[in-house]
Symmetry: C2
């Protein structure tokens, strides 16, 4: 038995401190309506890093970064040769985002590390908090840049080439961030890990409706997105006979009905959405010459997701006549199942603490999607009011916030080794 | 037999002069791509009036106007007590309009009057050319202000209250026009008429496809337009179960398919168009909260038009569930049948001149729509290349232009009394 093992691990995080820190970070990029605008690589995110680093220094945590602009804070374990355990989420928000999405998972992990540090107890493995760069993708699209870069799922050249609406390169903004924190050591991308756990608000109504405090996330449902463009022929609404028309709007309507019935109606689990429709020239007395639209298709079962995705083009081709159609696959993210052993740890922790829990699927994407292929990974959800997120009135209760962090504490202690 | 009857009426207009005058007016508001931008009550339209008045003075025609800003040029007939015959169209164009739409009918009528004036022959009735104010409605919407005002179909107060995009009142622009031409006498709106004939390019492909030079217009098809708004509920594309959604886009698609089948498929004559579709918030991962769209419905048979129009709301209500829908009727213009006797005169003139002709419906609206209830009215169409109008490359051939004017000459002579 090592000397440090004589000290017991803490059984509670400091709920008051965690809540206060959430409210402190909510002031960085605060919006008039109580939300947060703290987009990736912005001055607000840099300010948030300064605050995080001050809290880390106070607790004796090491800080480092990597070429993708991810922030890491480390509680050293007893065994420097053991692979570390990682936990966190992201500090960036939507332009009219809330006080919990992302930042909750970062601060819950920080709170675990600080509570452990204060207790004097040390796990076997290093415990590392991470704040991934640009999860939201609202400033530089698409998001998940930090975790995708870390996992070598996307090249840094590709990530750096993205531009915001003002034409600023992500690479330049990233260099500015790293220059600002040039005193921090850098580790290479993709360093080996023993495990990853991410706490997050659910961003859905299930936990609230089921009156559960803890969600044991079984998987992130797979997602495919498409951009479909229908080419018709413009014409005069008053003169062109119906049988001579190549009307892109009616072709769109037929395609939409068929896709909704055949794909959206496949089972009770699939999610099928056409959210964006662009008609040209979009004038009341002109038969539309083209319609482009988006498809967002999600399913947790990859075999079903693939089968449904493969049907999109055939359905479009059948229904589009006499117009023509082009179907482009934009995103193809398979479902990631989370580690069964960590799910059990989370469930057991909730049960021990008397917190009602349930297993559920994550409908939204998270950085954990890109960690699951690298190491045993899992997610802990807490409820958010009415399932609302990406909105200024996004809300979770203090007791839900602390419950999730306590379950994270138990899980990380188990993973990092008592 | 009166003294003037000893002179024979001319049997041809001056084709060269008519073409040259068309090209001269095309220079007023000429666009870089060969089209015309001469919108209602603009400096360009005022310049066109100056040119028209110079041509009228040269030919000994009287000029007058009315409170709606219509320009009239008169060839005095032999019988001052007989009701006059009117012919013309409009001088205003779309912002990227062509050289023929409207101005052709004005200059063809002027050419008839000038040719008659030159010949020394006088008809029994006054022959009056008219240039109606603001047919297009591109600057001040909706259009047909001059003919609607003349026909007391719309009040002058309502017409004068329209504003352009710069906030200029139509009433102020109209006062400026009338002030510029304050030397012209004004006649009251709606003075009695013996007949009205309007020459116009077809604005459709039928005459060209059928290789006919003269179109005998049987009617202007009736038109109804609607604005439909579907109210659903916004939601997250990844989380909300399909059965819980109130998706305004799929509701739109169902409505569009049903309307297209039940109304657009009613017979071979109906024209049904959804040309404008607006989705909110129009984001790929957001279930749409609302969709608004336009309906343009046309049919020459008023009973059918009304029956089809009356079905719109019921179809929307059936298909919209579980969303909600509001249907607003914006335009309700019944079909106007033209005078059978004048149609025969036009057809007979074409036959005598060896010009291939056919009867056809006007799919587009014209000022003649508002004259038909006032007096026996008719329209003469000439072909336009590929049916294109409201475009800078709108085109008719010189021989088509002169053919239509010669048929107008014959028709006006017959109506005005030899």
């Amino acid at each position: 038995m090592s000397a440090s093992a004589a000290v017991a691990a803490p059984v509670q995080i400091n709920a008051t401190r965690l809540w206060q820190r959430l409210m402190t970070l909510a002031q960085i990029g605060a919006t008039p309506n109580g939300g947060v605008n703290r987009q990736a690589l912005s001055a607000e995110e840099i300010e948030a890093w300064h605050v995080m680093l001050a809290w880390a220094a106070e607790a004796g945590l090491d800080a480092f970064t990597d070429p993708a602009g991810n922030l890491f804070l480390r509680l050293a374990g007893r065994d420097a040769t053991a692979l570390p355990v990682l936990s966190g989420s992201h500090l960036d928000s939507q332009p009219t985002g809330g006080r919990f999405d992302g930042v909750y998972g970062v601060l819950a992990a920080l709170e675990v590390l600080v509570s452990l540090s204060e207790s004097g107890w040390r796990p076997q493995r290093d415990l590392i908090m991470v704040a991934w760069m640009n999860e939201e993708g609202s400033r530089f699209a698409p998001g998940m840049m930090g975790s995708e870069g870390f996992a070598h799922h996307r090249s840094m050249a590709d990530i750096r080439a993205a531009r915001d609406v003002d034409g600023v390169l992500a690479g330049d903004a990233l260099d500015q961030l790293l220059h600002t924190f040039s005193e921090l050591p850098q580790r290479p991308l993709g360093f080996p890990l023993a495990g990853y756990v991410e706490a997050h608000i659910e961003q859905g109504p299930v936990l609230e409706a089921q009156e559960k405090t803890i969600g044991v996330v079984t998987a992130i449902q797979g997602k495919k997105t498409f951009e479909v463009t229908i080419q018709g022929t413009r014409g005069h609404a008053g003169t062109l006979a119906m049988r001579e028309r190549r009307d892109a709007v009616t072709a769109f309507a037929r395609i939409c009905c068929a896709l909704d019935a055949q794909i959206g109606g496949y089972d009770d689990i699939v999610k099928f959405t056409i959210g964006r429709v662009q008609v040209l020239p979009n004038a009341p007395s002109v038969i539309a010459g083209s319609v482009s639209f988006s498809i967002d298709l999600r399913h947790p079962d990859n075999a079903i997701l693939n089968a449904l995705g493969n049907r999109v083009e055939a359905i479009c081709n059948t229904e589009v006549r006499p117009c023509e159609v082009e179907v482009k696959l934009l995103v193809n993210a398979p479902s990631n199942g989370f580690d069964a052993a960590i799910q059990d740890m989370i469930e057991q922790s909730a049960a021990t603490r008397g917190l009602p829990s349930m297993r559920l699927l994550s409908a939204a994407g998270h950085d954990a999607r890109y960690m699951a292929p690298l190491c045993p990974s899992a997610m802990i959800f807490i409820p958010c009011r009415a399932g609302v997120s990406h909105a200024e009135h996004e809300w979770s209760e203090p007791e839900q916030v602390s419950a999730g962090a306590n379950v994270l504490l138990d899980t990380l202690i188990q993973l990092a080794g008592e």
